[in-house]
């Protein structure tokens, strides 16, 4: 009786461990972007793109050949056409807002307008 109970408890614990693991695992697998160019947006409005060289679970990133997209001086959330080169950089994970692959990212005309 008692041993059966403890086994049950053990199985239960294992299940909880697995659940915990699943929960702690990041939903973002950055390895697929290694050596590829990604676009990163930061808290405060800065944007950059570069080749992903490395990362950690806290979303700290190492980017190479990095370009920063400069912004309208009057509006920190509006991109200007201008860019500047930053080279090899470390991005602080806590300030990363968005990550997307550069490959397939394109500026498009208003896709909603036809339905207006």
């Amino acid at each position: 009786m008692a041993s059966g109970d403890s086994e049950k408890r053990k199985a239960n614990n294992q299940m909880q461990d697995q659940k915990e693991k699943k929960r702690k695992e990041s939903i973002l697998d950055l390895s697929k972007y290694l050596e590829k160019t990604i676009r990163v947006k930061f808290a405060g409005g800065r944007e950059a793109s570069g080749i992903l060289k490395g990362y950690d679970p806290l979303l700290n990133l190492v980017l190479d050949n990095t370009i920063e997209y400069l912004r309208d001086p009057d509006d920190p959330y509006k991109l200007a056409e201008d860019t500047r080169e930053l080279g090899l950089v470390v991005c602080r994970g806590t300030s990363v807002v968005l990550i997307c692959p550069m490959d397939g990212m394109e500026s498009i005309p208003n896709p909603f307008i036809s339905q207006d």
Partner: protein, 136 residues
Amino acid sequence: MNKIELEGTAHLLDELDKKLMVLLRDGRTLIGYLRSVDQFANLVLHKTIERIHVGKEYGDIPRGIFIVRGENVVLLGEIDIDREDKLPLTEISVDDVLDAQRKEQELHIEKQRLISKALKERGLQMNADLVQDDLY
């Protein structure tokens, strides 16, 4: 036990399934039925409309279901169903209210521009755009 755990949100739980008005930090007003909350005061609003007020007129845009992150909420309150038809305001069409709102915002932006220009001339700088976004 439950009571202690949920102390912070206890009052929100009282509002479940009631029709609420929610004001967001960006100044927008949502009206919908509160279906769920959690310990962060994240909200689920159902059958939501966005209500745009300009002066004594307003317009409603149907928006459906929202999951609002709690930290973006300024205030919320129950709508008195019996009295909501007797608002001292007039409802106008969505197009009209959007038009009116655009005019209001253009005026506001122009005013901010003048203020910030005047400040700059006096050697001060205020980033109008960062301030403007965070109304509260």
